[in-house]
Symmetry: C2
Subunit: 215 residues, 2 copies
């Protein structure tokens, strides 16, 4: 079972690595990181590069494709080599998946037109621009299309998929191996729990963390 | 504020990238991935390489050091160049931290002798071999030493540290940016919730997922 994870400049590291840590442990899984050109691909921060071991043209029929998000999404939303690769491999995948704003690339490729999908909370509003139906859920599965909300949601998506692909027992074993018993010290992880003022401060850049939403 | 993340062959990807995704967003943070030699360093799976941008000798006085775990820990537990670098930079850090079996490297370097520390559930028993005091908690902070349990626990550790370093508001903002509102589809993330039979099956390799505990 080949799992292809797409990389492009300014992707978000955890979008790709969270699911990787889970899916790569499924017995029989073989993961390949792929990009337009093989070699190091920088995350949105610039301070980390992941290596793409294969060019897109070398990855022709993965069973599963995973498209991470990140600020770079905006640069590739009309990038035909990438959209075309996503469309081509999707024709034969058993699962086509995304994390965070990666769902905008699936939508721009025309794969989830009319389908429910999720994305980072700050990107949900753009899904309809490309014909998808935004849903405020952490993980949305519709047919073979599985989309996750922002960044860390990819871990939940990957465990969900693992159960569907390999069964509950393997998913549970992998959860225990990666000790995924989350205990966030704060409760601001979603727009449902965070105060509106915090959401607004981030949207308007009144509060800026590095690689901010509005850069 | 420089944050150095150590890489070594066969580290666990999420141990490093989970905290990276949080800590790198702290205003003023500058992250550097470092290894004995600069260049790509392969994770335990082999299917992913992260780039070390600096050799250990180039990273002389980080404010924070983070040591990930992974099967490779075993190979470096007596590796003087790595242990010596950890010892040397620790002399000037404000925080010395680890995820998963990375705490065994801190312990082997002699930094947490007599101190409480945590580790991956399958590694806790080895902490006393190196003089540390094992504690079954997800995150343990003792003075400037902060250790996390297995793999995904690094995210919780990083948010905790972010609050201590930059204040609750920044930590909460970063939690919202990475949409860390975990909803695991299973409840087997710790030895406290998983049935003893599952823990035992993993320990004895009756149940094998890729890069298993006992390899």
């Amino acid at each position: 079972m080949q799992i292809a994870i797409l990389l492009y400049e300014r992707f978000t590291a955890l979008d790709a690595v969270g699911p990787y840590e889970i899916l790569s442990r499924i017995p029989g899984a073989e993961v390949v990181f792929t990009a337009v050109r093989p070699g190091p691909v920088r995350t949105e921060m610039g301070s980390l590069a992941l290596t793409a071991d294969a060019a897109l043209g070398e990855v022709t029929d993965p069973d599963i494709v995973l498209v991470p998000g990140g600020p770079g999404t905006r640069d590739f939303i009309a990038d035909e080599p990438i959209l075309d690769w996503i469309r081509t491999v999707d024709a034969a995948t058993t699962w086509t998946t995304s994390v965070c704003s990666g769902s905008l690339l699936l939508a721009a490729a025309g794969l989830i037109t009319g389908r429910p999908a999720t994305s980072h909370w700050n990107c949900l509003e753009y899904l309809p621009v490309f014909g998808a139906v935004p849903v405020t859920e952490r993980v949305v599965v519709d047919g073979k299309y599985a989309t996750a909300a922002g960044v860390s949601a990819g871990i939940d998506l990957a465990l969900d998929l693992t159960g569907r692909i390999a069964g509950d027992r393997i998913a549970e074993a992998i959860q225990l191996v990666v000790e995924y018993d989350p205990k966030p010290p704060y409760t601001m992880g979603s727009t449902g729990t965070a105060p509106a003022a915090l959401v607004e401060a981030l949207r308007t850049s009144d509060l800026v963390v590095q690689s901010s939403l509005s850069e």
